[in-house]
Amino acid sequence: MHFWPRFRAQLAGFHTALVLLFILAPIAIMVPISLTAGTMLTLPVPGWSLQWYEVVFTDPRWTGAFINSLIIGAASTVLATILGTLAAIGLTWGQFPGQRIMLAVISVPLILPIIIMGVACFSFYATMGLVGSRFALVFAHAGLAAPVVVTTVMANLKSFDRTLMRAGASLGASPLLSFRRILVPLVLPGICTGALIAFLISFDEVVIASFITTADQRTLPRQIFSGVRESISPAIAAAAVILILCSALVLALTAEMQRRARKLQMKPR
């Protein structure tokens, strides 16, 4: 009688372990491969070496791509975060005609297949002669990331106590002052979470970048993408490990931000 429930639990546990192995292994294997002493992307590795990290950190093609990724990521994050935060406030608190349509338009990038966005940017910026311009890529990435910022900040705003703003106003604060001194500090973790995700979206994005960048403004994922198609070298794995570490860092930071958000919003009660 007690055999079956335990067996079921063990089976489910075993299945979960296999599934976790399945979804994590492809990420984990990049680490040993990036440390190979050989010249092939194979496992097991013939020996250990840091040579491919040296390539990624010294070859101008890789360093250039890395710097480009940082610049484009930072610029699109700033744009997406400012526009997204303001819109999230308006959408959460406002009640104006056309609000649902506006939300729908803003959400378009969330479900639009990325290839359509990529080809459309190519078609659009090519007619304007802007292919190869960093601005074009920054705009495209900010457009992709802003709806995500809106969703994140809206989720955080819903638990924000609006009487605090009225309290501020009753004490003589102007709307702008209340915004700066009450709203922003309390919702800051949510805004930071949105900004981190926005950065990651830009930092990992490859399809649009492959359509509208020229050779001298390749981003890191774009460089990996062309590396896979042209010359397979373990430098790709080293660059991939850098991307993975960035993701891990961002994930850890957002977890911390959400912990702070919960703490901040519990205090006034």
């Binding site: 079921r8 489910a12 299945h15 979960t16 976790l20 979804i23 994590l24 492809p26 990420i27 294997i29 990049m30 992307l41 194979t42 496992l43 097991p44 526009l83 997204g84 303001l86 819109a87 406030i89 308006g90 608190w93 406002g94 009640q95 104006f96 506006m102 338009v105 803003i106 378009v108 639009l112 297949p113 990325i114 290839i115 359509i116 966005m117 990529g118 080809v119 459309a120 940017c121 078609s123 659009f124 007619t127 705009f139 900010a142 457009g143 709806p147 809106v150 709307p175 990992d204 490859v206 994922p221 990996i224 993408f225 896979v228 790709i236 991939a240 991307l243 993701s247 891990a248 994930l251």
Partner: protein, 419 residues
């Protein structure tokens, strides 16, 4: 004018009325909130909606032909393809149009655009730019052109020129559904050797459905284990599920190529164990595409189901068991219907994402595993056939919208049942 009407008009004219409207608009809470959303709305309109609209318009855009061949199209007013080769006037107009296009340096574009609608036209149009010199006049145009460019005797070509009278064409939209117009303008299926797009839509849908089903089956037990895990482990397990979601899609796809390739760890271990004698072709197949897509989308399904499972009241199963149900009955008839909304949510997300996949099929699928997205990219990159690329993109959006409407209707239905 009625009494009520005149008072309204008088109110509009009253001094200070417009000022009060403006101040109400500018300083009301609604206006302030609207003003906060407006910048992002405009930004999305400019950076996303405008480029996508501009691109999709190319599916019906025939302006290259319309702008370069106005005279030819006009001269073919009453001509029907059944009439055969048109008369002198049409050839004279054609020569005039070609001369104009050559001097405006748009002949190349015109040749490209016509070639996309009728293969093999490019060289003839480019050549016609050389044939039409000063010796060609309205009287001898037909004789000279037909002699030097025998291809011009084809009625299909003149049908195409006549269609240039309109700035729009349904050619690419029809082509994306494996349809075409015959010489008399009737819509028909294209020959089996050129019919590739219906199969591509079908393949895209089938792959997406299979990926969704595999994800749901794999995710269900995992969600239960995660929901019943104790606090420190629950957090760790959740982080392990979340982490792949945050990792670059490209990196994960490249990883699968490395794992599954001929000298990859899977083949190496199978060879070592003596289970196979030659490395298996695992990568660039439908199987490898499924493996990579499921790996990428599985966390989304796990999270969607988990959101429902954690809220399940534990007493339900006990109640069902106490009433004499065995475990399987309790699960199938009590728990699963309550989990179903989570599965539907997850399935919707996974299916919609899968439909639009590009990077994964492009890198890890074989030539026969390509989905609609890959064709959009192909016709953009290889042949710069914007019209067809845009028509295929529209088709992808159509499938997506139908899927989302179906999903929304289903959710409404299941919610109505639950209430």
């Amino acid at each position: 004018m009625t009494q009520a009407g005149s008072t309204i008009v008088e109110r509009y004219r009253a001094p200070g009325f417009w000022r009060s409207v403006f101040s109400r608009l500018l300083f009301s809470a609604e206006a302030r909130h609207f003003a906060l959303v407006l910048p992002l709305l405009l930004f999305i309109l400019v950076t996303v909606v405008a480029p996508v609209g501009h691109f999709l318009y190319r599916a019906i855009d025939n302006s290259t032909v319309a702008e370069n061949m106005p005279r030819t199209a006009a001269s073919l007013g009453d001509w029907q393809p059944a009439d055969g080769v048109p008369g002198d006037a049409a050839f004279a107009a054609f020569a005039e149009d070609i001369r104009a296009a050559a001097s405006a340096e748009t002949l190349g574009q015109l040749a490209q655009s016509l070639n996309q609608q009728l293969t093999g036209t490019r060289n003839m149009i480019l050549k016609s730019g050389l044939v039409v010199d000063d010796s060609v006049t309205a009287d001898n145009a037909k004789a000279i052109l037909l002699e030097k460019l025998p291809g011009l005797a084809k009625p299909e070509l003149w049908a195409l020129f006549k269609a240039g009278g309109s700035a729009y064409t349904d050619f690419y939209l029809l082509q994306s559904f494996d349809l075409e117009r015959d010489v008399s303008g009737e819509i028909r299926m294209v020959g089996a050797d050129r019919a590739i797009f219906l199969a591509a839509i079908w393949r895209t849908i089938v792959i997406s459905i299979n990926v969704t089903v595999i994800c749901a089956l794999l995710a269900l037990p995992v969600a239960h284990v995660l929901a019943s895990a104790r606090p420190p482990y629950a957090g760790i397990l959740l982080a392990l599920v979340l982490f792949p979601l945050w990792t670059s899609l490209l990196v994960r796809t490249v990883s699968w190529i490395i794992i599954l390739q001929g000298e990859g760890p899977v083949n190496t271990s199978l060879l070592y164990l003596g289970l196979i004698d030659d490395p298996l072709h695992l990568v660039y197949t439908r199987g490898s595409l499924y493996i990579a897509m499921v790996q990428v989308l599985l966390p989304l399904m796990i999270l969607s189901i988990l959101a429902v499972v954690v809220k399940l009241p534990k007493e339900l199963v006990r109640a069902a068991t106490s009433l004499g149900a065995d475990w399987w009955q309790a699960y199938w008839r009590v728990q699963l219907p309550l989990i179903a909304p989570g599965i539907v949510t997850g399935a919707g997300i996974v299916f919609v994402f899968a439909l639009g996949y590009y990077i994964t099929p492009a890198l890890i699928g074989g030539p026969r595993d390509q989905m609609l997205s890959s064709y959009v990219a192909l016709y953009t990159n290889k042949t710069l056939n914007w019209g067809l690329a845009a028509a295929l993109a529209l088709q992808l959006l159509l499938v997506l919208v139908v899927a989302m409407l179906g999903w929304a209707a289903f959710q409404k239905l299941s919610k109505g049942k639950g209430a």
